[in-house]
Amino acid sequence: MNTYRYLRLLLPLLITAAVVALFAPRFVPDFGGELLGFEARKITRQDAEIPLHASEVQRGKSWILVYLPKAEGLRLQADFDLPQSDSGADSRADSGAESGTSNGANAGTDYLLRIERISGNFELWLNGALIAKNRPTYWFLSGKLSGARFILPGKLLHSGSNQLQLRFDARPVDLGVFVLGAKIRKLMAQDSLHERRNWFSVFNAAGAFTLAALLGGIFLRRKAAHEYLYFALGIFAWGVYSAGVGAPYVLMSNHWNQLILHWALAIFVWGMSHFARRYCADRSAVIEGWVNRLTLGALIGLLLAACVLSESEFLEWPMNIHRLLLLLIGIDMAAVFLRFCWRQRVPAADLTASAQITALMLGVHDVLIFATPLDFGFGSLIAYGLPVPLFIFGYILAERFTQSLAEAETLNRELDARVMQKTRELESAQQEREQLLQAQTLSSERERLMRDVHDGVGGQLVSLLAQADRGQLHAGNVRDALDASLTDLRFIIDSLDEVGSDPLIALGMFRQRVQPQITRAGLHASFTTNTLPEGLVLPPEKLLQCFRIMQEAVQNTIKHAFAKTVSISARCVPSVQPELLEIAISDDGCGGAQVASGRGLQNMAARAAQIGGCVEIDSSASGTRVLLRVPIDCGG
């Protein structure tokens, strides 16, 4: 463990210690040398009206518990004498005019009454006049002199004997120490900040309500994070308390103020404990689960009981138990933090734990002085211990928020990068596939072209060469062979055309190739191809074979049939599966074509078989009909 870590752990403690040392008053300030003290004492139901007698000032162990029985019209009364020489620096200029209003001469100086602890609903009467009801002039919460402050107006005070009466409704009270002093300006200057607190508490309340709404909103969106609900409830209660205490109006009885304050503190501390646990990722089984709920239930039950019991004379013991419970929760929280920071070694964790322990120590101090007979010479110190942990708490929240944002950004960037990489991979894979496909297509087309040329033009030329070798070359034969070669070459070229796989257009192309031949031979040609539906697809190599068969049939008609007309028709036979393309070439010639005898006819049948089709030849005296059937649906 390095030095910096020690520093981190000690820093909140040192800061708080410095603040306490500098600002928390350890001494009873000068009341002008004319302090009047009252010691409250335990009174019973029987003495419902008990005068409180002035006694000496007690600077040491100066408090006593007062249990008041439940009874209406309960009063504490103090008779006190003011010194005669009361025209000092503090006496008012118009003291003469004022003195006429009361019996006896008064110096006209305002006095200040401090009651260490006051709770429940009350009235303060001075010499038969009501000067305060349910709330003090102002609260002063820091230091040993914390408590309710009441200004006793000089014009109501007499020289000599005066009567101060504190009337309660049915609430038992622990009043602590009464202090009465003359030099109130000095005190009020010291308290000026706390006077402003009257208005601050209104703003505090507004801020607390806003914060509570915010935290409640977080809880509603993230129901798993219970601590935000506790924060929201605690801060809401704190807001109610702030709106009720110190504000320049009366919202509720003092009694309720007290209860709400305790409630707010309890829930807030509980929320902090949860948050600590979550932040530290602590899963200790002892405190989690049903124990957790049971503890919270007990806490709330106790608070409710306190509300009910406060009607009775047993307020203090549940309140003290409640305080001790808060203490236990706080100690548990501190333990969790401590363990966590020991493991985590994160600066924020160190600071939080340290600040929490500091606040806890001050809280322990406060609980001890309120709930036990101990006194360390200070008043309530928790106010000095709260700012540092609250600041650190805010810092951690901000840190977590920015961390989450950064994480989200990083994730986004990574995701973007991954998407881009995947896209690139897909693109290159696609490219490779396309190239492969292209290469395959190219190679298969090349093969087909070679085969087609070999089958058609090649055969024709070889046969021509053989004839030449045998010396049987006649001009007519040569012309016919060349013509056939040229026609076949054109079919091959047509079959390479990209529109060549549309049977409609391919048949159109065939017609334009063949029609001139037929016309030149003096025959009439009739084409009926328009009956084919649009959108048929047949691979070009199949169409090429079809055209070769058709060309052969047409050539046969021209050469052998002595016909006048040749008709070529195509139709689609959709009734059978697979669909058939049916092409008929018929003439009105002499017939007599036989598959067995003619090589051309055998050739036609072989070609048809190659593409999965068949050729039917029907030759009679009234003409020849070649019927070619090709399945459309196979391959392609």
């Binding site: 054109r490 047509d494 529109v499």
Partner: protein, 216 residues
């Protein structure tokens, strides 16, 4: 009033054959017969021929470039492309460059005369394959180019193209659509012109896509 004609053909036998055929045609007068694009350019400048009969593949390049060039002349000469085997894709390229007619290298005298007559009478030849390609060309770019109705194919032209693509002759198309022969022929010529405009627009669009010309 014979038409001044230029013949561009690098193969001497074929050129002689064409010269002989053209000599038989009374409507045309051969003013120059050349074998290279460079010579053709010179001849076009000096003779201003009204009809060009061009082979596409020449020793000094492809005549498509020449076809594009002469589109800038006034008046634009009629252009007939000589095609071997009807390799229609190159014919289609020539049509897109501005040619209006084509003739097969092995055409006989009658076919040659008919083709020239057809061209001079405002018609144009078309084969099933070319019609199929033209159809495909217009379909592929449908909706992609900002074509005005004038530049896109009319319903009648589309029907004509479809029938021709099925191998029907002008006469048959005319019978099917109840149109006169000359109307069909002029439709085809119109379609070629639209195809040329179309391909020019496509080129412009492509250049815009590549950022070579500003949009709008």
């Amino acid at each position: 009033m014979s038409i001044k004609t230029l013949l561009l053909e690098d193969e001497s036998e074929t050129r002689k054959w064409f010269e002989a055929r053209l000599a038989e045609c009374v409507r045309v007068r051969l003013v120059a017969s050349v074998g290279t694009i460079a010579a053709a350019r010179r001849a076009i400048t000096s003779f201003a021929p009204e009809l060009l009969i061009l082979d596409l593949k020449l020793p000094d390049g492809n005549a498509i470039e020449l076809i594009r060039e002469v589109q800038l002349r006034t008046p634009v000469p009629e252009i007939m492309v000589v095609s071997v085997f009807g390799d229609e894709k190159s014919v289609l390229g020539a049509i897109e460059a501005g040619a209006q007619s084509y003739i097969l290298k092995d055409a006989n005298a009658e076919e040659m005369r008919k083709a020239i007559d057809q061209l001079l009478d405002g018609g144009a030849p078309i084969s099933a394959s070319i019609a199929g390609h033209v159809l495909k060309r217009f379909r592929a770019t449908a909706g992609q180019l900002a074509i005005t109705p004038v530049e896109s194919l009319s319903e009648r032209e589309l029907q004509t193209l479809k029938l021709i693509a099925r191998g029907m002759s002008y006469e048959e198309v005319g019978a099917a659509l109840s149109l006169r022969y000359h109307t069909i022929a002029s439709y085809v010529k119109q379609i070629y012109r639209k195809l040329e405009v179309h391909s020019r627009m496509q080129a412009v669009e492509r250049a815009r896509g590549m950022g070579l010309i500003d949009r709008g």
